[in-house]
Amino acid sequence: MKRILKLYSTEIVFGFVSLLFIILTGAEILKPMNITAIFLQNSYIFILATGMAICMTSRGNIDISIGSFVCFICAMGGVFMAVMKLNTGFTIILLLILGLLWGCLSGYLISYLKIPAWVTTLGGYLSFRGLGVALINTFSTTGSIVGIDQSFMKLFSGKIFSSPIDSFGQGSLLFCIILAVSAITYKLYSLRKEGSSITNSVIFGCALSFAVSLVIGVSFSLTGGVPVSFVWMLIVVGITQIWIEKSAEGRKLIMLGANPENARIAGVNVKRAVFMTYIFMALCATLTGCIVLSRFHASSSYAGVNFEMDTIAACAIGGVSLYGGKQRILKAILGAALIGIINLGLSLIGIDMNWQWIIKGIIIVAFVSFDMYLKKDRYE
């Protein structure tokens, strides 16, 4: 029983909570518009949770500066495009450089100078929020910088395979089906390559994921196309997942998280690996900043508020261990989807923000306690 709980805790909770919200909202949440909204409104959690899962995999490092950094990136994007009138490509390059710089700085402080991650990122949490809001207040009197390039918005918040809202766009459905089929083929292929047999549970999993992508595809088709932020999310998650499973660097990272001392002896450059995770995290935050910026159509001082909470909650639900050593990016993504459902469900029911804060806080504590309970024997 404990073994099943351990293996499928995320899935079980996901099932229960979604069922709960389907009942509470009277199936309102299953409408195509709302399913699309889960991905549209919460794309940031998916991308940030991927980065955070990587950070945590390397021995429980954490980054609480991401929300503020997203705000800072939004502000800088607004300044570059609306105030300095730079074009889209140049802006993106500059923003990426900023992300890279912060990643290098925080990574260097944490891995090479051994300053605890929470101190460094707490500094970032304060500074970037202050800097972002100060920039916005300097360049506008209304609290938001407007005038973002159309091409920038198309790149980060448009739709592909777009179709009129009231008709059925086959392109989106086809896109989702092709994606699901290729993902399943890849999974089966790699299983066969490893020499493991295809069990019933694998077939069940494949069928379930195909059904889910069918539902998502139909929802996209009915609501006017596939959101670009969804594509960005797929790219980030897909690349990260394949990278961490297949590449030597990725395996090293998992090994490092499982036991740093062993990893060091086996010749893993521990400092470099941790350094890289923070660069990756900062780049994820930069991408999120771009998506948020184009979703709001302006750089707002409210961008990124509480993103770190949502992200950590997603990782906690996904069972990403805070003591490192487990590769559970896909489960973190499931956790992110659950947070998305909770966000949307609570606002559909009409519960106010304060309750959302309380519920999310309780979720984090409950899941982290649960994770520790399951692994009690390992750490005693």
Partner: protein, 315 residues
Amino acid sequence: MKIRGFLQKNYLLLSLISITIFFWIMSEGRLFYYGNILNLFQQNMYVFILASGMFICILTGGNTDLSCGSAVCLIGAIAFRMMENGYGGFVSFIVMLAVGTAIGAVHGYLIGKFRLPSIIVTLASMSILRGIANLILGGYTLSVSDETYLRLFSVSDGFPFYFVFVLLCVSAAVYISEFAPIGRHIYALGGNRKAARISGINEVRIIVFAYIFMGILTAISAAVVTGRMGIVGPSLGETYAMDAIAACFIGGTSAGGGKGKMSGVIMGALLTGIINQGMSILGLSANYQNVIKGIILVMAVLSGYLLNREGEKQQ
């Protein structure tokens, strides 16, 4: 190297003096006006109180409490609602202490017994407590008119009672860290967890103790702050945790625990107060104040680390 040794021992005092002089010159002498000095202590009482508690928490092994600002808001909100409904100031204060203790006990139990990372637990409770506080306040700012409460925690009679509370909290932290047996255990636990556990120190008990202490201090600072201002608003205490943590690190407390002195923390709190005050006098917006505080936070830990490393190399 004599100079380096001197720097290592006294860098805190030197930076205190230099920053004071900096703000003194920048504010054209206004920093030392009588009113400003009084303000410095009045507005930053919470830094002294919370930093004392935070110091004990960090000492147990880098455990932190990010939620204390939200807890101040919640505890203040509960007290004000109680007084609004006719309970006395003294009874409310007892309830505040009880709530603070309860919050601390929950934190301590989760962090000590279940071994959850303190940063996650307190980040979560930061949002939980703020949420509950806002529900209690209902989006309004409450004010207080209870005689006993105001007499206890503000200057109405000419004698600043709140100062007694600050002194009490700081001296309690000094007593615990310097003289009490449990203080030795705290240092031992922070210095080397494994060795401390093997030599029979009850880890859970110590961490629970540290967080309960922090909780009580949070309640006291809530009383002192709300008593002085006479109001509780939804955004009360948003920067308090950062200020307290910054004060500890500026004061030379090791971020990994086990090292640090209360004397340093007091100086760090003073420095944080002067920085807060100086920036307000200069008219810097809250945003830039946050930027500077964030940088100071990292710089303080960094400089402590670099100085220690130099020291180890010499030996």
